[in-house]
Symmetry: C2
Subunit: 135 residues, 2 copies
């Protein structure tokens, strides 16, 4: 029995090109309306936990701990599909976004700022919910 | 006249949280079918050039130079919209993907590998064109 046979899941991690901090970017995309919701980071434990739970678990660089997305807001991301890119250094998660809100600002997506020469980067999307009601 | 008035474009860069290498991840999404096509990196010059050309220009970390996407393949990405996320550390480009191929492997999207316990990360999408015909 080869090592691969005894522990096939090892391959999941070995194939990935983790950066010098042991992380890869993970893009979350809404599986229904196809909006890009956010980008966060995963380490090996986060990816393993995401597969295990079927819900997005990231590595919080600010808190330096695993971050089960939605743990405090309830805005869990149920994983429909996980993809790895050609270079093996970026993950794409197709998710069902519970509550329809991915952003801590109460917006559907974190990708809500657009540049205007006059005003700089400004929000072009409304908050669906007051963050005070979420946290 | 304030500094802002004299050079408003400065704000575009100042607002962004560049990483320690002066880069931010930039996700390219197909504006028509909404597929996530790829993720690459931008520095200030790449972002400025992208706005100026209306076409995606990235910073190639492997070649350490500006990379006008499609410069050799013809698979230019015409920019429809550029978004910055809540944390100001990720960009999203909505693009018209010329040729319908974003990936150097000849696939529509770079996000084509799916994990299976038996085979590891394997391609689940066909190449639309032989890379030899592209480059």
């Amino acid at each position: 029995m080869t090592e691969k046979d005894s522990n096939p899941s090892t391959d999941m991690f070995e194939a990935i090109k983790w950066n010098s901090q042991g992380l890869v970017p993970a893009i979350a995309q809404d599986a229904n309306n196809k909006r890009v919701l956010m980008m966060a980071w995963m380490n090996r434990d986060a990816l393993a936990a995401s597969f295990e739970k079927g819900e997005a678990v990231y590595w919080s660089r600010s808190k330096q701990r695993l971050w089960h997305k939605g743990e405090s807001s309830g805005h869990i991301q149920k994983i429909i599909d996980i993809r790895l890119d050609c270079d093996a250094d970026t993950l794409l998660l197709m998710v069902e976004q519970i509550g329809g809100i991915a952003c801590h600002t109460g917006r559907e997506s974190c990708m809500y700022k657009q540049y205007s020469e006059q005003d700089g980067w400004v929000s072009v999307e409304p908050a669906l919910k007051d963050p005070k009601e979420i946290y």
